[in-house]
């Protein structure tokens, strides 16, 4: 029992409630949000260190013991992701100060921002399947508001599709929870895992596993279920887009991580092969999109889908290297995607267009922006010593061990294509002759650049210092590879 476990959820909740009262006072809202998100980073850092010292931390909500009550579980994977979420949240918050606009700021942008963080942190920390559904809904509710806030035509049109898709997937989630409950009579994840291994995963459980894959796949945008993503993420302003791109799909992937390593791991020939095929197809589709478009936002959006594919492929291999690779890669991808969205946002703001054909020659006037983008771009492609490299290398080692050569080829070729797609932005956007007279003051650009630079520096440190972070990652992988650690921590207290 440790109340610290639930703090990453409670803290933004308090902040959000306080912020609602000061909706019209922009300066105060900014101050409170920034202060709160910095404290959020401290709390989650402390959580990571405590989990490192004491092992998995649990909290039975309302002092009901597991498996009867809802249990909040912070293992290494969850707490690392919570830490990353809080860091990205703070960076995007700072960026919002300069770009979201007064109208949105006075219409509850900051409170809803905090509510989104509640949902994301909660989804990472919960140890109960139905509670996961509830936190998904909290997160989605906040994302609906952020997506539609501002009410431009494209936002309204795309939110409608986004909400309908998500309502459908929520209904599916409830249906799958009902089936699982009727088969196993519990919804606590540790307890479920125990009972599934007692019955050794009969066919019905595998069917439910695929059902959950549909639910989480819709959120995480894996191959046949991603069509809503390019349209919906395109609509909102840049900070919201960065928030969605960095956090929301990753929650879906985390849920796949959790369910496929903790619960549905007995029939790997069926479920995990299925996952591997979907992962590879996701990579291929993402690559096609990323190299086809000339719109900078679209290129980065399709890069989200590629990363999802790589991580899913890593999970499907289910060995130590591949899983630690996936964890490294998911953290790297959250950091670098947020940074890239912010940088692309600055480019769009300077040139007034999101089409690469209307940009060019930005490097002369804004060299700092150009070189930050360059570093972010090659990190994304996974060039050593930057952060994407270690994750991809470990996933490839895992694939070699399982002799999944087709997937290896897909991951490797996709890296080249990713490099091509971001270099296309770099060459067409920064080199060449300026297409217009760029008038945006350097001062404004530098201010907006600060959060992006912070994220890029962090990801470079993450890449260079992978060796020193590795103990944390391997602790996370231990729990994933041996579900008994998780079960003992939750049920024997």
């Amino acid at each position: 029992m440790n109340n610290l476990t639930f703090m990453p959820v409670l803290w933004p909740l308090f902040t959000g409630i306080i912020l609602i009262f000061f909706a019209k006072k922009i300066k105060l809202q900014r101050g409170i949000s920034l202060f709160s998100s910095l404290i959020g980073i401290v709390i989650s850092l402390y959580l990571v260190l405590s989990v490192n010292n004491q092992g998995i931390l649990t909290l039975g909500v309302g002092s009901w013991d597991a498996p009867f009550g809802i249990v909040i579980v912070a293992d290494m994977l969850s707490s690392l992701l919570v830490l990353t979420t809080n860091i990205i949240g703070s960076a995007i918050l700072i960026y919002s100060f300069y770009s979201i606009g007064k109208e949105r700021e006075t219409h509850y942008y900051y409170p809803v921002f905090q509510f989104l963080l509640i949902g994301v942190n909660g989804a990472f920390l919960t140890g109960d399947l139905f509670n996961l559904f509830v936190f998904f809904e909290v997160m989605l509710m906040a994302s609906y508001v952020l997506l539609v806030l501002g009410g431009t035509k494209i936002q309204l049109r795309e939110s409608l599709k986004y909400i309908i898709v998500n309502v459908l997937s929520s209904a599916f989630f409830v249906i799958m929870v009902a089936y699982l409950y009727s088969v196993l009579g519990t919804l606590n994840m540790a307890h479920l895992s125990q009972r599934i291994s007692e019955v050794n995963q009969p066919g019905i459980i595998s069917v439910i596993a695929i059902g959950f894959l549909i639910v989480f796949g819709l959120k995480g945008a894996i191959f046949p279920l991603f069509q809503w993503l390019p349209g919906s993420y395109y609509a909102p302003p840049i900070p919201v887009m960065a928030l969605f791109g960095a956090l929301l799909t990753k929650v879906g992937i985390y849920a796949i991580f959790r369910t496929y390593t903790l619960m549905f791991y007995h029939d790997q020939n069926f479920t995990h092969t299925f996952l591997a095929v979907l992962g590879i197809l996701t990579i291929i589709i993402g690559v096609i999109g990323a190299i086809a478009y000339w719109d900078v936002k679209k290129i980065i959006i399709y890069n989200i889908i590629i990363a999802v594919g790589v991580i899913i492929f890593g999970i499907s291999l289910m060995n130590e290297q591949a899983l630690s690779g996936s964890i490294l890669y998911i953290i790297h991808d959250m950091l670098i995607k947020a940074a890239l969205f912010l940088l692309v946002g600055i480019m769009i703001k300077i040139s007034g267009s999101d089409n690469l054909r209307n940009m060019g020659g930005l490097i002369k006037q804004y060299p700092a922006l150009a070189w930050t983008f360059f570093i972010a771009a090659i990190s994304l492609a996974g060039i050593p010593p930057f952060s994407g490299f270690a994750g991809k290398l470990l996933i490839l080692q895992g694939a070699a061990e399982k002799e999944a050569y087709f997937g290896m080829a897909a991951v490797l070729i996709s890296s080249l294509m990713v490099l091509y797609s971001v270099m296309k932005i770099f060459i067409n956007g920064f080199w060449g002759t300026p297409k217009a007279d760029y008038t945006l003051a350097k001062n404004t650009v530098n201010k907006m650049l600060v959060p992006a630079v912070l994220l890029v520096v962090l990801s470079v440190l993450f890449g260079v210092g992978t060796e020193s972070i590795y103990p944390f990652i391997s602790q996370a992988v231990d729990t994933l590879m041996n579900p008994d650690i998780y079960i003992d921590a939750v049920l024997k207290e």
Binding site: L156, S182, L187
Partner: protein, 116 residues
């Protein structure tokens, strides 16, 4: 009783699918409503309908077999509240969209060309 419930749930899902495949926003929203009703009934049925007694200890209930499982009811309550909130948000959004775009036909809301 379980069989009857299964048929009812099937009919709800069928109508929901039919409505959600149409072009008009309002029909789609009613479809999502029916879909969540079906899902809620499904939880109730999956928890086991049993004897139908309240889940409280008393002398009148012969054995624990008669007790209804209270957990699915708690789950349904949460799910109903959530789907209620989302549906009302969706209705308001549909109205605003109709005001702004002047159409309630999903076919006219593709916008793929507009993005390029």
């Amino acid at each position: 009783m379980e069989l009857l419930m299964a048929i009812v749930i099937g009919i709800l899902f069928m109508s929901a699918t039919y409505l959600m495949l149409s072009k008009s926003i309002l029909r789609i929203i009613i479809g999502t409503g029916l879909l969540s009703h079906g899902a809620h009934l499904l939880i109730l049925t999956m928890g086991g309908l049993k004897g139908g007694s309240v889940p409280l200890l008393s002398d009148k209930v012969a054995s624990y077999v008669d007790y209804v499982d209270p957990l699915p009811q708690a789950l349904i309550l949460t799910a109903i509240v959530i789907s209620f909130g989302v549906t009302s948000f969706l209705l308001v959004l549909a109205y605003r969209t109709y005001q702004e775009l002047g159409t309630d036909d999903m076919e006219e809301m593709r916008g793929t060309e507009a993005n390029e």
